[in-house]
Amino acid sequence: MSEKKSHKVFVDGAISPAFIADSISKHSSKKNIGAHSLFLGQVRDDKIDGQNVIAIEYTAYREMAEEKFLEIREDAFESHSIICMHIYHSLGLVKAGEISLFVFTSAVHRKDAIDACEMIVERIKKEVPVWGKELMDNNNSQWKKND
């Protein structure tokens, strides 16, 4: 039952709640799944020098990022008993309040799903060549820093 085939990670613009619902629905036929863990990254309207972030514009070194996503995927299946996993990351403009990252892991038991999801999120933040440029409401911008 495990679905290890890869899929397109990058999506154009924000990730919609309807897309997430659709992704959840597709797993109802995999009846050996007992637990899903989902992580959603949402763009914050941080205040920087008195200006609010209104959106983040994401760019990536696509070829390298795609190799890295695949490596993270393979490592996740290697190190955790998961049945399937999906990663979606936005490119282009994502407004404050919208979702730019969606990590989805499924397993028989909750601990595997939860631990794998957290590991994948941490690795994406650290290892995948994607950049976010924070756009302010006065047309200024600055490069996002990951914590």
Binding site: Y58, T59, M64, V128, V130, W131, W143, K144, N146
Partner: protein, 77 residues
């Protein structure tokens, strides 16, 4: 010999271009020196180097047709 250079994020803002090539360069250390001479603002920011999509930490020899990417700190997610 031709080395292809890709620049991203803040590095691309400084270089003003995202994709160009340079003739003979011995290694990544020499390339970094050359770039920082051409674009002095690069000295004030942090960036990593990937050769053919692999991050390198030490100085690495460059070969014909290598693709060298200049990568400021990642901030995806």
């Amino acid at each position: 010999m031709e080395i292809n250079i890709l620049a991203f994020g803040q590095v691309a803002e400084i270089t003003g271009k995202t994709n160009w090539s340079v003739p003979y360069v011995k290694d990544t250390g020499e390339l970094r020196v050359l770039l920082e001479k051409s674009y002095p603002r690069l000295q004030s920011i942090e960036f990593a180097i990937a050769v053919n999509k692999k991050l390198i930490s030490d100085n690495s020899e460059l070969n014909d047709k290598d693709v060298v990417a200049l990568l400021p700190p990642f901030s995806g997610g």
